[in-house]
């Protein structure tokens, strides 16, 4: 075939293609700058603590600075608090250092006897504790602050000190921010608990220092009611024209309060509450070191993969046992369904959230892969006894419960603070339990099976539908939602087992339902029809040697799936779960490398996964 003919044929193909593009032009200097939609996913951690967090410091994180955290995240080798050299296999694209607002930086500065803190009475008291080795008293004062008990007058820090610390933290973040290469996001954690029930929120800013420095981190000493936090955030936006949002986490430690039917004040949720909650909290951190929050076997008895990194004994304070009724108000899947219930009554869905993962590590080290897991506190850094060491004084959770999880995946047009924040706002983000599984999801009415095979399927996805986080409205007659999904393994980690669609809906009688569809399977397996179970992918895990092999599973899977059970009159949501083949859990690596004994009942095999933000259907 000669060149002219080829050219003609190819040009003809382009001409006949269903989607129009701009005329050929000289290539842009940087093609991504001109991107109309996200071309790649960025990986990061939006929840990490350093020595500036009061609990981290009083439990032994004495040296790990925000600078160490940024250096580690961008790929440098760093020595941990216990002196262990460590490094990520691949750098992260972004990091938010989010230390606790309660006594932010204060214990660290008391330890250093910084003049700014020594001139406050409370700082001098803490410095005394530290000099006397009474670190536990420090930790107790912090724990008191979380439940609002630290509000006694002599435990309050003056604003000048809060500003002093905040300026240091903001400056450190700015110093490491390299737009396009490594983005730092300024933030902190509001760490309120009501009667020991976790209501923590990570607060993240879109803005630079000219705006963020006008803010003083809002803490549980100011209020333990999230509605007051939202007021403070609203105040920030009004004053600076900046942008800020809050991301709740660990519903599993809230004993039914995270997604409750009532406000903290005990009122039923109102339309106004729903609007404010969805405005300030578009994202939920669904998986992290203190357990996974997608769903629970009690809530999803038919879900074979629901029993995953469970933390369901007590609330976060350990003050009250978990009761089964609480679970529905703690986990993401049931909360998304509760959101439909509220929406049908209020007109606004308070729980229309997208999902991310992050670590919540307290040692400045963001590690999420099972074979490179450095724990939560200093006491859970790699050591032969870390599986049986309890989390903290008064928190009798064994170290073996920690999950090497998770990561935030963000489909953004560029790796900048603004682009990442905007992706969070439109929920074009997803969670993984620590591995970099690439997942893309579009919902529409007209995707054809061949669309997903196209190199420009994303362009098709955006032009004929909505990406994850979007909403499909009022179904055209005789049409059902079609999801177009692609998933690719982490280049460094295990193959994929399957893609699943998780559907939740609200029936005409006001009852919520869920159903799981296996929509793409590795190998030659067929999805089960009706009652049966889809055959398992198998396992190549050798626990004793902490190894697995990619001889099973697939590198990449895709699907175009039409909802076979669609009722256009009922509210619904769809999100995608991607499962890896079974691999050794971090406990197996500890047994192999450190000679540690895995206590009975502790898992040594895991199934890593990704959860996308949902696509909603509104009649």
């Amino acid at each position: 075939m000669n060149t002219r003919l080829t050219t003609f044929l190819l040009a003809a193909l382009v001409w006949s293609s269903p989607i129009g593009f701009a005329q050929p032009s000289s290539p842009a200097y940087s093609p991504v700058v001109a991107a109309k939609y996200p071309r790649r996913v960025y990986w990061g951690d939006l929840h990490l603590h350093t020595q500036c967090s009061a609990d981290a410091y009083s439990l032994g994180t004495r040296h790990m600075t925000p600078a160490d955290a940024f250096r580690f995240a961008r790929g440098e080798a760093v020595k941990t608090e216990t002196g262990q050299p460590t490094r990520l296999k691949r750098p992260l694209d972004f990091l938010a250092v989010t230390d606790h607002a309660e006594y932010l930086g204060a214990f660290f500065h008391a330890g250093k006897r910084t003049p700014e803190v020594m001139q406050t009475s409370v700082g001098a008291r803490w410095a005394g504790y530290l000099a006397n080795g009474e670190d536990r008293k420090l930790f107790t004062e912090f724990a008191d602050a979380l439940v609002g008990r630290g509000a006694r007058e002599d435990s309050r820090l003056p604003d000048f000190f809060k500003r002093f610390v905040w300026r240091e933290l903001v400056n450190e973040a700015e110093r490491f921010n390299e737009p396009g290469r490594f983005t730092t996001i300024v933030g902190y954690e509001w760490s309120a608990a009501v009667d020991g029930n976790n209501l923590h929120r990570v607060v993240l800013f879109r803005d630079g220092p000219e705006k963020t420095l006008k803010h003083i981190p809002y803490s549980s000493l100011d209020s333990i009611d999230p509605e007051d936090l939202w007021k403070a955030l609203e105040g920030y936006e009004k004053e600076t024209s900046g942008r800020v949002l809050a991301i709740p986490h660990n519903g599993n430690g809230s004993n039914g309060m995270m997604f409750a039917d009532t406000t903290i004040a005990g009122q039923p949720l109102s339309t106004d509450y729903a609007a404010r909650r969805s405005r300030w909290e578009p994202i939920y951190e669904v998986t992290q070191v203190k357990g996974d929050g997608e769903t629970h076997p009690y809530l999803s008895p038919k879900d074979e993969f629901a029993d995953y990194e469970r933390w369901d004994k007590t609330n976060i304070g350990g003050t009250r046992k978990k009761e089964p009724w609480m679970l529905e108000y703690e986990y993401a899947r049931s909360a998304l369904a509760r959101g439909l219930v509220h929406e049908s009554r209020l007109g606004v869905n308070p729980f229309a959230f997208g999902m991310i993962g992050s670590t919540d590590s307290h040692i400045g080290i963001s590690t999420t892969t099972e074979d490179n897991f450095f724990g939560k506190f200093v006491s859970s850094e790699p050591a032969v006894n870390r599986m049986v060491t309890q989390m903290a004084p008064g928190f009798p959770v064994p170290g073996s419960d920690f999950a090497a999880s998770g990561l935030a995946a963000v489909w953004a047009t560029d790796n900048t603070r603004e682009a990442l924040f905007d992706a969070l706002t439109r929920k074009e983000v997803y969670a993984t339990t620590g591995n970099r599984i690439t997942v893309r999801l579009f919902g529409g009415w007209d995707f054809a099976p061949a669309d997903v095979k196209r190199a420009d399927y994303a362009a098709v996805g955006y032009s004929k539908g909505v990406p994850m986080g979007g909403t499909l409205n009022a179904a055209p007659s005789s049409k059902a939602p079609v999801l177009m999904i692609t998933a690719t393994k982490d280049p460094d980690e295990a193959n994929l087992d399957r893609i699943q669609v998780i559907k939740g809906w609200l029936d005409a009688s006001g009852k919520t339902h869920e159903k799981i569809y296996d929509v793409a399977l590795s190998g030659k397996r067929r999805a089960a029809s009706k009652a049966g179970k889809t055959p398992l992918v198998g396992s190549t895990v050798d626990i004793a040697n902490a190894t697995y092999s990619n001889s099973i599973g697939a590198e990449s899977l895709d699907a175009v799936w039409r909802d076979p059970d669609f009722d256009p009159t009922l509210r619904a949501f769809y999100y995608v779960r991607v499962l890896e083949i079974p691999t050794p859990r971090w406990t197996a690596y500890d047994a192999k490398r450190l000679g540690a004994t895995i206590p009975s009942g502790v898992k040594s095999i895991t199934v890593e996964r990704a959860y996308t933000s949902p696509i909603w259907y509104k009649p």
């Binding site: 193909l13 071309r39 691949r90 080795g133 396009g180 280049p491």
Partner: protein, 302 residues
Amino acid sequence: MTEASRSRDRFMNLLREPLMHFIIIGAALFALFTWLAPDGERESRRIVITQERLLEFMQYRNQTFSDSARDRLEETLRSMTPAQKAALVEDYLREEVLHREALAMGLDSTDYVIRRRLAQTMEYVLRGTPDEDMAAPSDEELNRFFLENVDRYQSPARATLRHVFFDAAIDEREAEKRARFTLAALRSNALDFEGALKISDRFPYFHDYADETRQLVESHLGREVAVASFEKPVDASWQGPYRSRGGFHLVQVTRRTLPTTPDLKTVKDVVANDLRNAKVEERLERRIKSLISEYRVESTLQ
């Protein structure tokens, strides 16, 4: 050189002597054993409870050894109720007896964790602090260290590229043929990138890579594309086809930045810190080597 600094140097040299290490370590061990079992108590199965000993016990429990902490603990001890004091004595006795029995059974040498722990503690003692025996580095010294370890402070090369992909899973020859046709069309401007996407296959990762490291490019696109992106001239022309595990790639590299080396001035604090740590580690290795040299090591290895 002043008299004072000369005598300090002499003292430093003395500290480096292996004999001196023995004296220091010996003193440390003597102190430890004196605390564990004074007056030959270990043999006699006699335990004497003294104020002093309870205080030390409290210090170890609280992991605090400063004078002010000691005063405070002394105060605590004095103000204890008889019941509290009895409980403290009970705790002390329990630990002391179990510890002595464990030593008597030789558990300290058979338990690998304890063995390692002691070795680590010794290492800690030998490592010392950065300030001890170490002058602040001169600018010249800093500069030399910076140049010797310059790769540590460099940021890596980065490339901006895009590619189209032809999946070889079904028919490798067909995929290569399609790649070559498309290359010709791209080079003759009959087709642009978006157009080429329409007639190529979906790539499992991405089609655009902006300002990426070689490590990432290679993990997604394979070695051939990484070489093309990082080792060949950058002229924005379409190149290929390059083979990866999955198929064939046509690549257009539009930009590449060389590894950048920061000015020493901007990273001086970091370099100084690294140099201090490196010196401490060097000194540790010297000290351990010299200790090893004091032993007669015999080997029965073949």
